[in-house]
Each structure stands twice: as structure tokens, then as C-alpha cells.
């Protein structure tokens, strides 16, 4: 360490020392150059030739990507009760290669816990050559995990080797399977719709508002090691955007009641089908939109295909006598009639080559306008309607909403048919005036009658609370309700009083439609039906009853339509009692007290 030898070595033997260092440097240089060129080539190979593939492979080696499923929006009724909601479900899957040995035991557990068919399941569990079998789908997750644990425990008990016992049995396992639950089953199923097995919307509002309800799936990529996330590792997350909920104007409990009453009415009269609509008079909110036959939205596969849509919106029929309300309202509005205008009704009325009959045989009658409506006389209505031109009647019926969709947001709604007045002729004018030769859907007709209940102002109906945009881009909901005047307030009041004579047992056709203690306005309809095959009246009928209560301060409009009853009943005897039951339930449920005013008592004869 002394300085002397150090300085000597620096100075001493310069030639040989420098030369060997020089050679060493050269050798090092060559070695380093070689190594660096190898690195360079490798770098070029990695970065220059196909950098993305290598990057992706590197990512894949330790990265896990999980789809973060967006939760589908709930469909709620007007009080916030769920009509359709999404829950985390699981599917149970078996690997028959592993389960064959325990087939009987596992099948018994599945039959006990999930109520599956023992023999079906056993066949699946022991299927030769298969490694993947669905045992059950859309099982609530707690139940599914419970079942898997149950199976694992049972299998463990049969294994004696202590080492093998520690390994959990993997023959039956679960995978995510989002589950759409319709807690109220068939209640409002025709409106709400359902999802198919693959989770795609198939019908009803589920389909019409699919984009809104579905949301957008997100995904998360992160590095994993040994099943755990590596902290501070690379990770990227795209948050899922959950579907937005959809609130309806439907009242679930009311809807249930209406559906049961409707089903009783259809089944008692041995009819083909039926629809019923309940509207809030002032706001046009659809409180109930019922159809029968219907289906359980949890198991749509078991229903007939024709029952899956909404007949109330997608089916058309000729309204018959209920439409007389609109004709006579138009006449009242034009000032051509009063409720007491005398009309002489002959036994039959020839119009050009046709003869118009009434539903009941009679001689010459002396009815007032009220009487014509209360007795539902076709001849009387035809005679009264001669005072209005076809064009004016057409204009009024259009204003009542006939021939145009109500646009509540469901797909496949029909326009109904209101032929242009120029094509009517005399016979057409007569038949249209009493509701034949035109067709409507149930909601359209209910909306038209509701215009009278609402003092002559038509309120567009809505099924959605607030505002929502359908997939087709149509904005619907209570925020988009519009009103327009169809007839004067005076005409509406007159009509409401005239309609009070219909449920009156002494004067009208529908004593069964009364609600004791309340003033009820209504109108029966018994229309001839156009057959599917012959495109002519085939002797079957559509019977209906539309009405509102309390007559002097209407709160609700109810319309019941029954197709093809086979017990010989009419609108009064089939539709009337159903109307009365629904209306009395409504009035009690919403706490509408009787107005306590004197019921209308208009003369029906002169």
C-alpha cells in the first residue's frame, strides 16, 4: 500500500505492460461486440418483426380477463314493486366422466334439493363419452353452491383414502348464468315480456326497451399468481354500465286482480280470449292491461306462441255498440241532438240493399236518444247518425283516436282500421255509426271512452312512468302525455249522464255492471266477429263493456273485451259483472268515496 511500488509499476516496463493491456482490450471488445450483436438481433426480432404478438403472449401468460356483466335494469310497477328483476344465477354442470361412478347418489341429491327429475338427471350424469352436461340452469346462486357442497360432502363420505378425501369433488360445478326473475309470474307478463334462454329479449317491454335495460358489459384485466391478484401488477378495468330501470304505470296488485277476474269471465263463458284495460281518467296512465290466455314469464316455453304477445294492443276486432257512445257524442257535440231528442225506431230499417236489425225484436218504438243508447238500438243510432255527414263523423272518430296507434311503447301495436269516409257510402255510414266495419284495439277504444270521462278531452295513454326511449327511438311515457279536445265539456257531461242509464236495471242492458252506492256510466257492446277464414261475419261475437266511475267525477275508465263467448251471453251479462268487480276493487283500493249526488234519471221513451 505504500506509494513507492505503485509508482514503480506505473513507470516500469512500459512496453510489455501496455501491449498486453492492449490485447486484452481488443479481446474484450470483440467479446462485447459479439454479445451486444446477439442482443441486437434478439431485440430486432422481438421489437422489429412482430412486437404485438409477443406483447400479447406476455400479457396472456399471467393476465386474467374477466367480463364484468352489466346488471339488467329492473322493471317496476307504479309503486316500485319489481315485475322483472335480474339476480345472480348459476348453472349446474356435470362432467359425466367423473360423475358416472356416483350417478345414483348425485341424482338423488339433485332431485331432493332442486326438484329435478331423478331419471333424467341420472341419465345425464352417466352419459357415456360426454364431458359436459347441463344439469340445471338459472339456479339462484346460494341454492346452487349449497347443492354443490352437498354433493361434495356426500362424495367425500364414500372415499376412504385420507389423501384423496382432501381433494374436493369436481364432477359437478357451477358457472355464472344470469337469471331474470319474474316474481309475480303471469302478472303483466303480456306487457313485460320475457327473455329467451340465451338471455336475449324476446317480447313485450323487455324487447322494446332492450337497449335501456341491458346496459353495457365491462371487463377487467389483471395479473394473477396462484389464484390471487398480484398487487401493483398491471390491471385495466372498464366499468360495466348497468341497465337503467323502467317504471311502469301498471299497479301490480290491481293487475293481478284484473287478470283473475278476466280469466273467470273468459272461462265461465267458454270464450276464446279476453282483454281488459284500466285507465286513470285524468292522467291517461294505464293502471292495468290484462290479457287472457296468458303465460308465466318464468317459463314462456310452456305457453302457446299465440299467447305470448299482448292481445289488448296487437289484436283487432270490431267494437260494436260501445262505439255508439262516440257517434252519439259527436252528434251531441255538433248540437244535432240532446239526450231527450225523440227518435221513432221502426222494427227494421232498410238502407240501400241492406236491412238493419236490432239485437232484440221489437215493434215501432218511441225512444229518446238516451233510450237508443241504453237499449243499444242499431236502428236508432243509424237514424240519429243521418244528421251528421260521413266526413264529420270520420273527423270525430279520428279525433277519438280510432285508426291511429296509441304509441305506448310496445312493439306490434295495431293501427286498427277506420276506412276513409269517401269509401263509406250510405251502408258504411250506417254500420260505422254503430261500430261495425271498423276495427280497434282494446287500448284505443278505452282511450276513446276515457275522453268522455275526462270531460271531452282525450288524454294519450301511457304505460311508462316518466320518460323512456324505445330501441326504435320513440320517446314515450307520462312526460310525453298530450291532451286534445274531442267534444265539448257539455256534450261529455250529457253523454256521461246518458251512459248512466245503461247499468240501470230498469232502463239499460247491463244491470250487472252496477257498483252499489256509486254512480256508474257505461256501455255494452256485442259485435259480430269477422272470421279468420272467410273474412265475413261468421256468427261469433265480441262482447265488451266500457265504463267509468264515479259518473259525475270520473276517476277510472275500465274496458273489458271478451272474444267469442259460447254461452250465448252479451256485453251486459259477461262484460258487465267483470267490469263491476274490477271497478269496485279499484274504488276501494284507491279510496274513492261515493260522490253522494243523485244519479241521472233521463227518460228513455216518449
Amino acid at each position: 500500500m505504500s506509494p513507492a511500488p505503485h509508482s514503480r509499476s506505473r513507470r516500469g516496463a512500459p512496453g510489455t505492460g501496455r501491449g498486453s493491456a492492449h490485447n486484452r482490450l481488443r479481446v474484450f471488445l470483440v467479446v462485447i461486440t459479439m454479445v451486444v450483436s446477439v442482443f441486437g438481433v434478439r431485440l430486432f426480432q422481438l421489437q422489429g418483426l412482430d412486437p404485438k404478438a409477443y406483447a400479447a403472449r406476455a400479457q396472456q401468460a399471467g393476465a386474467a380477463t374477466v367480463v364484468l356483466p352489466a346488471r339488467r335494469g329492473t322493471i317496476l310497477d307504479r309503486k316500485g314493486v319489481a315485475l322483472a328483476e335480474s339476480v345472480d344465477g348459476l348453472m349446474l354442470i356435470a362432467d359425466p366422466k367423473v360423475t358416472t361412478k356416483y350417478g345414483g347418489m348425485i341424482a338423488r341429491i339433485l332431485a331432493d334439493d332442486l326438484g329435478l327429475d331423478y331419471f333424467d338427471v341420472r341419465a345425464k350424469l352417466t352419459k357415456p363419452g360426454s364431458r359436459f352436461q347441463y344439469l340445471d340452469r338459472r339456479v339462484p346462486s346460494t341454492l346452487a353452491t349449497h347443492v354443490v357442497k352437498h354433493i361434495q360432502d356426500a362424495v367425500r363420505r364414500t372415499i376412504t383414502d385420507p389423501d384423496l378425501r382432501k381433494i374436493p369433488f369436481g364432477g359437478v360445478y357451477t358457472e355464472a348464468d344470469p337469471l331474470r326473475d319474474y316474481p309475480a309470474k303471469d302478472v303483466a307478463a303480456n306487457v313485460v315480456g320475457f327473455l329467451g334462454d340465451n338471455g336475449a329479449a324476446m317480447a313485450g317491454l323487455e324487447l322494446a326497451f332492450d337497449k335501456r335495460l341491458k346496459g353495457k358489459d365491462g371487463q377487467e384485466t389483471y395479473e394473477v399468481g396462484d389464484g390471487n391478484r398480484i398487487p401493483l401488477g398491471d390491471n385495466s378495468t372498464v366499468e360495466p354500465r348497468n341497465g337503467r330501470p323502467l317504471q311502469l304505470t301498471i299497479d301490480r296488485d290491481l293487475q293481478w286482480y284484473v287478470q283473475r277476474v278476466l280469466r273467470s269471465a273468459v272461462q265461465k263463458s267458454r270464450s276464446d280470449s279476453g282483454s281488459a284495460v284500466v285507465l286513470d281518467t285524468q292522467t291517461g296512465e294505464v293502471l292495468s292491461l290484462a290479457d287472457f290466455p296468458t303465460y308465466d314469464a318464468n317459463t314462456p316455453g310452456r305457453a302457446r306462441k299465440s299467447d305470448l304477445g299482448s292481445r289488448a294492443l296487437q289484436g283487432v276486432y270490431e267494437p260494436g255498440s260501445v262505439e255508439k257512445v262516440l257517434t252519439i257524442s259527436s252528434l251531441l257535440d255538433e248540437g244535432k241532438l240532446t239526450p231527450r231528442t225523440p227518435i221513432t225506431v221502426p222494427a227494421t230499417l232498410p238502407v240501400q240493399d241492406r236491412v238493419i236489425h236490432d239485437w232484440f225484436p221489437h215493434d215501432r218504438l218511441h225512444l229518446t236518444t238516451t233510450g237508443v243508447l241504453a237499449k243499444s238500438s242499431n236502428i236508432g243510432t243509424t237514424l240519429a247518425a243521418t244528421q251528421i255527414s260521413s266526413e264529420d263523423l270520420y273527423r270525430h272518430l279520428r279525433a277519438f283516436g280510432l285508426g291511429t296507434k296509441t304509441g305506448v311503447g310496445l312493439y306490434g301495436e295495431t293501427n286498427g282500421q277506420l276506412p276513409d269516409w269517401t269509401s263509406w257510402g250510405k251502408v258504411g255510414h250506417a254500420t260505422v255509426s254503430f261500430g261495425q266495419g271498423i276495427s280497434v284495439n282494446t287500448l284505443q277504444m278505452a282511450t276513446a271512452v276515457n275522453a268522455i270521462a275526462n270531460g271531452g278531452e282525450l288524454v294519450t295513454p301511457s304505460l311508462i312512468r316518466g320518460s323512456a326511449t324505445t330501441d326504435a327511438g320513440q320517446e314515450v311515457g307520462t312526460d310525453h302525455t298530450t291532451k286534445h279536445r274531442v267534444i265539448s265539456a257539455k256534450a261529455a257531461r250529457q253523454m256521461s249522464r246518458m251512459m248512466e242509464m245503461v247499468p240501470n236495471p230498469e232502463t239499460g242492458t247491463a244491470p250487472g255492471a252496477q257498483v252499489m252506492g256509486y254512480r256508474v256510466s257505461g256501455k255494452t257492446g256485442t259485435a259480430q266477429r269477422v272470421g279468420k277464414k272467410c273474412r265475413c261475419y261468421d256468427g261469433t261475437f265480441t262482447v265488451s263493456f266500457a265504463g267509468f266511475a264515479p259518473a259525475d267525477k270520473p276517476r277510472f275508465t275500465v274496458y273489458v273485451v271478451i272474444q267469442n263467448p259460447r254461452n250465448g251471453g252479451g256485453g251486459g251479462s259477461i262484460g258487465g259483472p267483470a267490469f263491476s268487480r274490477i271497478m269496485s276493487y279499484l274504488l276501494a283500493r284507491y279510496g274513492v268515496v261515493p260522490t253522494g249526488t243523485k244519479p241521472a234519471n233521463l227518460p228513455i221513451e216518449w
Binding site: A184, Q267, P594
Partner: protein, 202 residues
């Protein structure tokens, strides 16, 4: 570099040799250091050891936290699933059909006429009518229609026992015989089709 250096050296004149010799850099003799080295070494060692240990501890806690996070996530998932299935059970109990069935079981019917009591003066609004059995509504769908005859008469098919001679002739003939017998039985029965009787035969 080394060649350049040696050329420069050759060009230096002799008289400058001494100056060059003087200007040449020499190593400064190291001054004896008085400060003790030990504390510094200890400090460095401590810093290093502390850093390594700290890093290790940090990593360990991070790992531990990851494990905890995973297990908590599992627990949260399980609890969420449990909450959901409980909510589903609740929905099932709140289902109007379920409520109606239970109400019906204890003999309840919907009220036929709504009526109200005004609390301010005790006046009854509406016409209260006592509910009766007749006010009940059907809450379940009608049962499937029953067949007209509940206990159909048993079908008796007579089969002619093949004789021993036929059996010797072979199966074909006996089969023919049997179908003839079936036909006969079919005709004897009221409205039975031959195919039906064959099924019974099987």
C-alpha cells in the same frame, strides 16, 4: 490514442524534460484519516438492511392484503347472493297470488261493495254489504276438463292360443293367426281400431 500520445512525447524538446518531469501528475500521498470508519459502515449496513427488510415487509403485507381482499371478495359475493335469494323468497311471499291463496284458505273474500266511514262525523259513505261466500273469486285456473267416461271399461282382447301343430310350422303362420285374432277382437269391440288392439296385445 496511445499512438497519438507517443508522437506528442517525441516532439517535446529536451530542455523541457525537467519541466515535464515536474508537471507529471503523481498520486497525492493519502492523508491518514482520523475519523473512525465504524459508524459510517454501521450506518450504511443498517440502511441497506433496513431497506431490504422494509421492502420485504412491504411486499409481505401487500401479499397478505391481496389474500385478505380475495377472501373478503368471496365473502361479499356469498353475502350478496344470500341477500338476493332472501329477497327472492320475500318476493315470492309478497306475490299477490300467494297472498290470495292464503287469504282464501282462511275464508276471506274480496268485498263486494266499497264503503267508507268518514272519521270527522262518523258517516258511512257508500252502501256497505256483508260479504258472502258468493263474492269469492276464482284465483286458480279451471282444472283441465275431465274425460267423459271417468272409468272406461277394460278392453278385453281374446287371443287364440296357437295349436301345437302351428308352432311346428314356424313363427310366420302363428303371427298371421294372431293378427287375424286381433282383427276379430277389434270388430267385436265397440269402437276400437285394429292398431289400438295391437297395442293392447303388446
Amino acid at each position: 490514442m496511445s499512438t497519438l500520445f507517443s508522437q506528442a512525447r517525441t516532439r517535446i524538446p529536451r530542455f523541457a524534460d525537467a519541466a515535464v518531469e515536474r508537471a507529471r501528475l503523481t498520486v497525492v500521498p493519502s492523508r491518514p484519516v482520523d475519523a473512525p470508519r465504524a459508524p459510517f459502515v454501521v450506518l450504511v449496513v443498517l440502511l441497506l438492511a433496513g431497506g431490504v427488510a422494509g421492502l420485504l415487509a412491504f411486499n409481505t403485507t401487500m401479499q397478505q392484503n391481496a389474500f385478505t381482499a380475495t377472501s373478503l371478495q368471496h365473502r361479499a359475493d356469498a353475502l350478496a347472493a344470500r341477500q338476493q335469494s332472501l329477497a327472492m323468497d320475500l318476493e315470492r311471499l309478497r306475490d299477490p297470488q300467494h297472498l290470495a291463496a292464503r287469504a282464501k284458505k282462511i275464508g276471506m273474500v274480496p268485498p263486494p261493495n266499497p264503503a267508507f266511514v268518514r272519521l270527522t262525523d262518523g258517516k258511512v259513505l257508500g252502501q256497505p254489504v256483508a260479504a258472502t261466500r258468493l263474492d269469492a273469486i276464482r284465483i286458480n285456473t279451471l282444472p283441465a276438463p275431465k274425460p267423459k267416461v271417468l272409468a272406461p271399461k277394460p278392453r278385453i282382447v281374446k287371443i287364440v292360443v296357437p295349436r301345437k301343430a302351428d308352432q311346428k310350422n314356424g313363427t310366420k303362420k302363428s303371427a298371421q293367426d294372431r293378427s287375424v285374432a286381433n282383427d276379430r277382437a277389434g270388430r267385436a269391440g265397440s269402437n276400437r281400431t285394429p292398431s289400438g288392439s295391437q297395442e293392447t296385445n303388446r
